[in-house]
């Protein structure tokens, strides 16, 4: 979900996220709550649109996650 948000410039509509991540509404809401609780994403209002935006903490986490994925792939883990 964080990757999809990154791809969309850091903000995305809930419905777009749901389709792109191939999740049900219930699943997405549950995951978003978890991400929000950890301060990785936030809800914002922009031109009457309800959007979800990745926070700085979320971006940092995403970079760290990408590095760890790179590490695991390098070592074939």
């Amino acid at each position: 979900m964080l990757r999809i948000m990154q791809e969309k410039g850091g903000r995305i509509r809930k419905t777009h996220l749901m389709y792109k991540a191939n999740l049900s509404h219930k699943q997405m809401t549950s995951y978003l709550e978890e991400l929000e609780k950890n301060g990785l994403v936030e809800h914002i209002q922009e031109k009457d649109k309800n959007l979800i935006r990745i926070t700085n903490k979320g971006r940092e986490f995403f970079v760290q996650y990408a590095q760890m994925r790179e590490f695991e792939k390098t070592f074939g883990l």
């Binding site: 990757r3 990154q6 791809e7 410039g9 850091g10 995403f62 970079v63 760290q64 996650y65 990408a66 590095q67 760890m68 994925r69 790179e70 590490f71 695991e72 792939k73 390098t74 070592f75 074939g76 883990l77």
Partner: protein, 238 residues
């Protein structure tokens, strides 16, 4: 019996190479541990444990070499005390244990890196291998090449694992990893003849080169992770 084969002109460089190796191994351990914390992947934890043991082996070497090479006042006091109280055996035991633990931890670390990240568990064979590593480390005190030969066999097996990984992934970072361990294997071959002081220095320099390559690998992994741009066109994450 000669404890180390380091020529006098190489003493400082020798310890500095060990310190550098220690730092690189700790960095690899921290990457593996971070990876475990994020993904709860047990393989990463075991890989990290392998690097941690190798780092500890380097630390044991440094701690043993420092008073041996530099602390002349302590060495003199020990020498005087040894003459006065006839406890030369105690001094021997310090160096003996220092290098013994260094060899034991190094081989154990290599074995864990070779075996456990892919098995994801400790099998009953582990106890047998642990015993054999223990015996090898004991024997290496009088037959120094035993340690380097065993290390060479473990490193060759590690290279084979990573070569297979490279064939699957074709990742540049895995190629660098294979290169790093190959240079480390070469250093072990040269260490086999390290009874000659200048060959020991050459072997240590080759080992330094292997750790420099591993440092380049760490830098590349961190850079590539940061390159994961908003466009997200990295197909590996698709």
């Amino acid at each position: 019996m000669k404890i180390v084969f380091t020529p006098d002109w190489f003493l400082t460089s020798d310890v500095l190479i060990d310190v550098f190796s220690f730092v690189i191994l700790i960095l690899l351990f921290s990457l593996a541990f971070k990876s475990y914390k994020l993904n709860k992947n047990k393989s990463s934890l075991f890989l990290g444990a392998g690097f941690f043991l190798m780092a500890f082996a380097e630390l044991a070497t440094i701690i043993t070499k420092l008073p041996l090479y530099y602390n002349t006042s302590i060495t003199t006091q020990i020498g005087t005390a040894a003459i006065n109280y006839n406890f030369i055996g105690t001094v021997d035991i310090f160096y003996y244990f220092g290098f013994f633990f260094s060899r034991l931890l190094f081989l154990l670390g290599l074995y864990i890196i070779y075996k456990i990240p892919y098995d994801k568990k400790i099998t009953k064979d582990f106890l047998i291998i642990l015993y054999l590593i223990f015996v090898t480390s004991l024997l290496s005190h009088s037959l120094y090449y035993f340690h380097y030969l065993t290390a060479l066999i473990f490193i060759a097996s590690i290279i084979d694992n990573y070569r297979k990984t490279y064939q699957k992934t074709k990742l540049k970072t895995t190629k660098i990893l294979v290169l790093g361990f190959s240079v480390m294997a070469l250093s072990q071959i040269v260490f086999l003849f390290s009874k000659f002081a200048y060959i020991y220095a050459i072997a240590q320099t080759i080992q330094l080169a292997s750790y420099v390559i591993l440092l380049m690998l760490i830098v590349k992994i961190i850079k590539d992770g940061k390159k994961e741009k908003p466009g997200g066109d990295n197909p590996r994450y698709a």
